[in-house]
């Protein structure tokens, strides 16, 4: 009896030792891992805590489309819109303001109804240089100076097309509206393809 008891005691002691050893090794290895990983983790955490970059696409993340569509059917054009009058002017004859937005610049171009360019203005021309070009303030200033010139020409109604995503997307429209032009419609002409030619190689951050 005593012998067997002793044996069990010994084995249990051995077990404890084993677990201790294994525990120690485990902790060691985990500490090492931490050191290796920590850089990447820190960066990830930092990026996660940063606020989402403003691309000027207000309303993109909100939902409730269906109720809105059923409520206001008239906000979308149909086959008769082209020939119907808006403020005494046929839709097809209303001049167009093209807004081209990118990450670093906003270019606003006024054309007649056929698309022949008349005035062009960009944040760079406006006097904003380098990184300041790619801000919403620059876009708004650019749009408002261009639309002031448009108003001088005696234009009252305009259609707007917006191309691309960037900080100037909403603020350019705001600038156009603030100058007193009557905006009839807003169109998105962002070129989107599901089988595009191979784009440039990915940025390495």
């Amino acid at each position: 009896m005593s012998l067997s008891l002793k044996l069990t005691a010994l084995s249990s002691l051995l077990n404890v030792l084993k677990t201790n050893v294994s525990n120690r090794t485990l902790t060691m290895s985990s500490a090492l891992m931490d050191k290796k990983v920590s850089r990447g983790e820190d960066r990830k955490q930092m990026l996660a805590s940063m606020p989402a970059k403003d691309e000027g696409t207000l309303g993109e993340r909100t939902t409730l489309i269906d109720s809105l569509i059923s409520a206001k059917q008239s906000i979308f054009p149909d086959g008769t819109t082209n020939t119907s009058a808006f403020n005494g002017q046929i839709f097809n004859d209303i001049p167009i303001i093209h807004v081209r937005v990118s990450k670093n610049n906003t270019i606003v171009c006024f054309t007649d109804a056929q698309g022949v360019p008349k005035i062009i203005r960009s944040c760079g021309i406006e006097g904003f240089k380098n990184t300041r070009k790619g801000t919403n303030i620059a876009a708004q200033a650019t749009a408002s100076t261009l639309s002031a010139k448009v108003v001088e020409r005696g234009v009252k109604n305009v259609r707007i097309t917006v191309r691309g995503l960037g900080p100037g997307r909403m603020s350019a429209l705001k600038g156009i509206q603030m100058s007193g032009l009557n905006v009839v419609s807003v169109t998105d002409t962002t070129p989107v393809s599901w089988n595009p030619p191979r784009p440039r190689k990915a940025r390495r951050l």
Binding site: T62, T190, V192, A202
Partner: protein
């Protein structure tokens, strides 16, 4: 995406409320993942990243479907056992 200009992806402005019109437009384009596709195609997406993304989207869709079903089940009002799983 070749469509008639000023008919597709167009919103008519009501009561000179440009911001609201733009918000509607952005909302629809965001919901239909047109902006996502635009952002994705600015830089080349390597095939292994495409696979990873597609697999992740699949898993997410399955999870969402099941979760929605569960929520609908719990929210259902007329049922024989009013408190299923609470005995």
């Amino acid at each position: 995406m070749k469509h008639v200009k000023f008919l597709s992806r167009t919103v008519l402005v009501q009561n000179n409320n440009v911001e609201e019109a733009c918000r509607v437009l952005n909302r629809i384009l965001g919901k239909e993942e047109i902006f996502d596709q635009y952002r994705r195609t600015r830089y080349y997406e390597k095939p292994f990243l495409v696979r990873r993304r597609i697999n992740f989207e699949k898993c997410k869709a399955i999870y969402n479907e099941d979760m929605n079903r569960k929520i609908q089940m719990v929210l259902r009002k007329n049922r024989l056992d009013p408190f299923p799983g609470c005995h």
